[in-house]
Amino acid sequence: MFNGIKLESPLFYFQTSFNKSAAADELFNAEAECGLVVKEAPLSAQLILRGDGSDTLFCAAIAKTLGVVLPLAPGTYHQQGNTSIYWLGPSEWLIIEVGGQAQKIEIALRKALKGHIAIVDVSGGQTSINLRGAGVATVLKKSTVYDFEAWDLATPISGCAAQTTFAKASALISNRSDGSYNLVIRRSFADYIALWLLDAGEEFGCRIEQG
């Protein structure tokens, strides 16, 4: 009865509206290296995890279930394959699995974890976008007050992350081992942030890549 259910990521309309515009070729298809390339990683599984990081059983259960060691140091994330865990606060983490299913992760975690914990599916409420290109550092300086130059370089399995203001919205920003940055942004602010990025990247040449 409801075959062909269409899922729409937060930037779905932003991307399609630029598809229709005259600038679409420039924005999507240009092979030329741009100073800022924006790419959404749509529809990944995203869950908030709450619990006691000083509880070794809790940490061990997370590592066993997700295959990723829970990051306990403020401002860091760990990654294995498609799954990343970001430190958000002393008892709060964000789990992202690209291409994953939040429900499956939630069921597995609830089975593995005991005591006072919380798991909340927030997949519909946020999205990840990747920023790369020579202009990224300046675009970040235009958009946030955080000092990214102070960060250590990321490796394929770990890196730095910070929740901070982004223009007049907010974002969880992390560095990647290829020198690019990932932003996790809220759905309702996604169009605003995309517009902001296009504007901030204009001086370097800016391109949106289909996620």
Binding site: P74, G75, T164
Partner: protein
């Protein structure tokens, strides 16, 4: 524009990530219904409004969403320390 050390994120962050939470270390009375109007009014409305050393709450609204306390000089705006909720300041002034 203050620069505030978040004791949870363990780094300095810009003021725009925080919101102010008012005076710290004010205990809610355990039995409000037993208080006179005056005593309840004191708890509700009266603050030390210190000139100089002041202990106050801040909320890292755009960061880790934790409340913590700061000891701030209300004259110079210097933040002398920040410390986690439930712990005590190491720096106290005449009014503390």
């Amino acid at each position: 524009m203050l620069l505030i050390y978040c004791p949870h994120c363990q780094e300095y962050r810009e003021e725009e990530e925080f919101s102010y939470g008012g005076e710290a270390h004010i205990m809610r009375p355990l039995a409000p219904d037993a208080l006179s109007d005056k005593d309840w009014g004191d708890y509700l409305f009266f603050r030390t409004n210190a000139r100089g050393i002041h202990h106050e709450m801040w909320y890292h609204a755009v960061g880790c969403r934790r409340y913590f306390n700061a000891t701030r000089d209300t004259v110079t705006y210097e933040i002398l320390e920040t410390y986690k909720t439930g712990t005590q300041p190491t720096i106290t002034g005449a009014n503390s």
